[in-house]
Symmetry: C2
Subunit: 104 residues, 2 copies
DNA sequence: TTCTTTCTTCCATAATTTTCGAATTAGATC
DNA sequence: GATCTAATTCGAAAATTATGGAAGAAAGAA
């Protein structure tokens, strides 16, 4: 993946996280572990209409931050921990390389 | 600072980073070190009209990710490394505490 | 089949964001 | 003062995002 599209991708991820509801959802799912958290449990946590929440969940999945899996009528969402680590690392990449001294 | 407003604040920071130009700017400034980077140098890096860039810089400063300092007619922008660290840590806070096993 | 539960998609409206030329400010230099 | 340079603010159009009721889909139970 080239530099420009990597930037676009990470910007998309950050944009997805840049909304109070979605950030709250992501943290809840991150804390829920690898097995994932059911959409209904997420809804109880954020207290919003199902349709509104569904849009936000889709945005997080589209960005590649969450994965989803269905079990019967239940839809489970889990964090893509690798993607998330890649994102938080990206922001710090080459910190201070153009400055004098170190800082990070 | 309470939990809700901390969430709002970090969502605002992430939203500020959730744009390709602003993410590129932030990384450039992060790499520029503590002394900061002049607006003109940033403009050369992103190749955009000054007015457009100025809006993006303001957004990053308003979010608390950049600080600014004037020297004559030059405006220097520097990363608030503490704020940035607080942000990237926040996303991972209490990872897996509601799940079984560990992952982070 | 009919009903219930769980969740998504459709649709329209409202609100916010992005863009950049033109005008303006602020400081340095002649 | 006049002028140049560096950068911000104004203003207005275009594009994107956010919200949630209503309708639909998918799985299971009665």
């Amino acid at each position: 993946m080239n530099v420009a599209s990597k930037l676009e991708h990470h910007a998309e991820e950050l944009s997805a996280l840049g909304h109070p509801v979605r950030l709250k959802v992501l943290r809840f799912v991150v804390q829920g572990g690898r097995d994932g958290t059911a959409a209904g449990d997420i809804q109880a946590h954020v207290d919003l209409p199902a349709s509104t929440l569904s849009h936000h969940l889709k945005r997080l999945v589209d960005a590649g931050l969450l994965t989803t899996r269905n079990e019967g009528t239940f839809h489970y969402y889990a964090a893509d921990y690798k993607a998330l680590r890649g994102l938080t690392d990206f922001v710090w990449e080459d910190c201070c390389k153009r400055g004098k001294g170190t800082c990070c």
